[in-house]
């Protein structure tokens, strides 16, 4: 450790102002702080600080993403072989899955981080850790057969238009990973929807429809069992299929206090309420499916745990989070059932509520302001 530190200290002057590589200061700082927590001490205010920092926060989220990722890798292989009527051992499935998923992850990270570093450099900022999470989220919401160049431009779009134009991590309005997905969804709809994209290198004769795809044409009979939807052995985006893997991730987020349980619970409540309302209405078969099935199909669980809880694009007040979450669940199921063009409502519901989150906060805060003004008036009177 000492030798490493000495090496870093030796290089440091080259990257500081007046040094040979001063233009690369942000890059150097990113690598240095990756290796070492800085030696900066407090000068004003509280003399002691909590051990948590943005790196710790983000690495916990990445950790929470590992279960759906691992399951996704396996499932990509499993679905592929299943469509060809084969049932190989565990490792060939993992091998095939890795072959498909790893390149997507690498492309996402390399593209995103390159842009992040470039922006940090240009602005003279430190490199933000936010993309560590976005870079993992983006592959997990992609169909397994997505072309890599699409991943690259979607990531670039998300980082530049979704985040950096607003000022970087913490300033963005929309969730960057969902921005990437929405971009592909609208720019290349044939690669992002339909029945042919959810299984990698699918056999042509095999139906690759997701549960949501089945329901869209009212094929309720073809719906997989609850158990396989909960377990995740169904076609879908890489990380979204397994509710149980996502629940493990949710447990990590809630136990560490990084993810907002408030939001997760209210999204689920919103989805259930809308599902039950449809049950009451019951105008078609889609409306009649049990409300809980909405929670284990498509991207609902994934969106609830990893996307809706993004603290930057979510509502910021505690009360606001309840409304925000509830409306996401509510609108997601609404879009699913009502809009034939969008089989999955979760992505659009979250993006929509991202936009409305500041408004929700505004009303929550206004009620606090009004209370204060009323109290002042009562005294003055």
């Amino acid at each position: 450790m000492k030798a490493l530190r000495e090496f870093v200290d030796k290089q440091k002057p080259h990257f500081e102002k007046g040094g040979r590589f001063e233009k690369l200061q942000s890059t150097f700082d990113a690598f240095e702080t990756f290796l070492f927590v800085p030696n900066k001490v407090t000068t004003s205010g509280a003399h002691i600080r909590d051990a948590i920092d943005m790196k710790r926060t983000m690495i916990i989220v990445v950790l929470a993403l590992i279960p759906p990722l691992l399951f996704g890798i396996w499932n990509v292989g499993y679905q592929h072989f299943l469509s060809h009527g084969m049932t190989p051992d565990f490792w060939p499935m993992i091998g095939f899955g890795l072959l498909k998923v790893l390149p997507i992850i690498i492309v996402s990270y390399v593209t995103g981080l390159a842009i992040e570093f470039a922006f940090a450099q240009a602005r003279g900022h430190e490199v933000n850790e936010g993309f560590l999470v976005s870079g993992m989220l983006i592959p997990l919401v992609m169909p397994p057969d997505v072309p890599l160049w699409m991943v690259a431009i979607a990531t670039a779009f998300a980082v530049i238009i979704g985040k950096e134009v607003f000022g970087g991590t913490g300033m963005n309005i929309l969730n960057p990973a969902l921005t990437a997905r929405a971009f592909l969804f609208f720019a290349y709809p044939s690669e992002m929807s339909g029945d042919n994209v959810w299984i990698a290198e699918k056999a042509d004769a095999y139906s690759g429809a997701t549960p949501l795809g089945n329901l869209l044409v009212f094929d309720v009979d073809k719906l997989p069992t609850d158990w396989s939807m909960f377990l995740g052995t169904i076609p879908g985006s890489i990380g979204e299929t397994s509710t149980i893997a996502i629940l493990i991730g949710a447990l990590v987020l809630v136990a560490t206090g990084i993810g907002s349980f408030r939001i997760m619970a209210s999204v689920v409540a919103g989805g259930l309420v809308m599902g039950l309302l449809f049950n009451l209405w019951g105008a078609n078969e889609y409306m009649n499916i049990p409300a809980y099935q909405h929670l284990i199909m498509g991207g609902f669980a994934f969106g609830t745990v990893y996307m809706a809880t993004d603290p930057v694009s979510a509502a910021q007040t505690n009360r606001g989070k309840l409304f925000y979450g509830f409306l996401i669940g509510f609108v997601a199921v609404l879009i699913r059932v009502f809009n034939p063009a969008y089989p999955e409502g979760m992505m659009l519901a979250i993006l929509l509520m991202n936009v409305f989150a500041p408004l929700i906060d505004h009303y929550v805060i206004q009620s606090n302001v009004k209370k204060r003004l009323k109290r002042a008036k009562a005294v003055a009177a």
Binding site: P38, D50, I258, V379
Partner: protein, 449 residues
């Protein structure tokens, strides 16, 4: 007795180095007054180096409120007038002569005096600066009539001194101080005690005050929290506040006619070998206090507590308002993969470190930031340790953009930087929140005057 106000949000940070409950005498002849202790005061100096002074001799006044006088706490000679950049007055160092001579302001029963007389006496003797006001936490304006006076008798900050011990045996003086204060307001004097920890009869038998009980974690002992729960401040209102030792100082003025600046302070922190209480006077030099009683590591000496105190050097002096000194290790080291390792010794409220499992563990914390400064990404964190009916992050952002109306609407008059100290400690983005809040308060004060 009255009902107990329960504070639920907050955090008790358990540190190593609590003071042993014995009071020793601190022998020193070095004292100082630091104009920088007084927020918003522009000092105009009245003495020069070599002048002899008595306890109660004016040293400087506030240029813009010239009836507010700051006096010497001891008898002796002015040893040095220390200035900093741009000739800012930093310290007026006084060497005590040990004679304890004091100007006689006359011993009187405050009950026989009217408000103006009481105020004049406090102003003349230099005791007035102990009385501060909310909003802004500046020295109270004698022309104001406060709607109430708040005294917090318990301190919930880490390693804070135990006021029960400090006031023990001074019941009559304390009551005399309260009698004087009761002339200053038409409203109530709120004496706030800890429902579980305050046992001293000095507090519980006080007369002419309303005793309020509080329970819960820090910041339950902060006067700002207590005001918020008992009698919240509205725009245009003023509340005065002070602490038990200040009441004793006022009591002694009326009992003896002298400015007796005796203070008991707690020497605390993990780097102190024998943490204990010391009896000295306001503004004592730190060196004799720590000599031979601290560890060999590189240290941070804090006048006050770890949340709100001021960093002082070894040749520095204890602050005017402080009755605690905390000494903790400096944190100027690099830590390899510190953010990724489990961290079995790290303090965090977040449960991302395994130490959250050990609720009663005491920590030896240093001054390291534990990370780089970032944008405000996480939400809902501050609310966990901020027991006001105020949106802390929104208020903070309003201050950052200097939106006066919004700051006012979000409740800036009700808070002080110390109320945000815990938010600052637990903040993932490592923002210097107290500094921002102070800027906001200063801005409001300027706008409102």
């Amino acid at each position: 007795m009255s009902t107990v106000t329960k504070i639920k949000k907050g955090l008790d940070i358990k540190l190593i180095g609590e003071a042993e409950k014995t009071i020793k005498d601190l022998v020193t002849d070095q004292f100082a007054i630091k104009p920088t202790d007084f927020i918003g005061v522009f000092p105009k100096i009245l003495v020069k180096e070599g002048d002899t002074v008595k306890a109660g001799t004016p040293i400087f006044i506030d240029k813009y409120r010239d009836n507010i006088v700051f006096t010497s706490q001891v008898s002796g000679t002015i040893k040095e007038i220390k200035r900093g950049a741009k000739r800012v007055l930093l310290e007026i160092r006084i060497e005590a002569d040990g004679k304890d001579e004091a100007i006689d302001f006359k011993a009187e029963d405050p009950k026989t005096l009217n408000r103006d007389k009481v105020i004049q006496k406090l102003l003349d003797s230099g005791i007035w600066p102990f009385i501060r006001q909310r909003p802004y936490s500046v020295i109270a304006n004698p022309a104001d009539i406060p709607k109430a006076i708040f005294i917090s008798t318990f301190d919930t900050a880490p390693l804070a001194p135990d006021n029960d011990l400090i006031v023990h045996g001074h019941g009559n003086i304390f009551q005399l101080g309260l009698d004087a204060l009761s002339q200053l307001t038409k409203g109530k004097i709120h004496l706030n005690i800890d429902a579980n920890a305050t046992h001293s009869k000095v507090f519980t038998n006080s007369k002419g005050v309303q005793i309020n009980q509080f329970s819960g974690p820090h910041p339950a002992g902060n006067v700002g929290v207590q005001i918020n729960k008992i009698d919240p401040l509205n725009k245009g209102e003023v509340i005065w506040y002070l602490y038990p030792q200040d009441v004793l100082t006022i009591g002694r003025l009326f009992a003896t006619g002298k400015y007796d600046a005796t203070r008991v302070l707690a020497l605390t922190g993990s780097e102190v070998l024998h943490p204990a209480y010391y009896k000295t006077k306001v503004g004592a030099a730190i060196e004799p206090l720590v000599k031979g009683n601290v560890s060999d590591t590189e240290k941070r000496i804090i006048s006050g507590n770890v949340l709100t105190g001021t960093k002082i050097e070894l040749d520095g002096y204890i602050g005017f308002y402080h009755s605690q000194v905390t000494i903790i290790p400096e944190g100027n080291y690099y830590e390899l993969f510190g953010w990724a390792l489990p961290g079995f010794n790290k303090f965090s409220i977040s449960r991302t470190f395994p130490t959250f499992l050990f609720k009663n563990k005491r920590f030896r914390l240093d001054t390291n930031y534990h990370g780089g400064e970032r944008a405000l990404v996480m939400t809902g964190q501050y609310e966990k340790v901020f027991p006001f009916d105020i949106y802390p992050m929104q208020l903070l952002k309003a201050i950052m953009v200097e939106d006066i109306d919004l700051m006012e609407n979000l409740g800036i008059y009700e808070v002080d930087e110390e109320d945000f100290a815990l938010c600052e400690v637990i903040d993932t983005s490592k923002t210097n929140i107290q500094e921002i809040v102070r800027k906001g308060l200063n801005l409001m004060r300027k706008e409102m005057s």
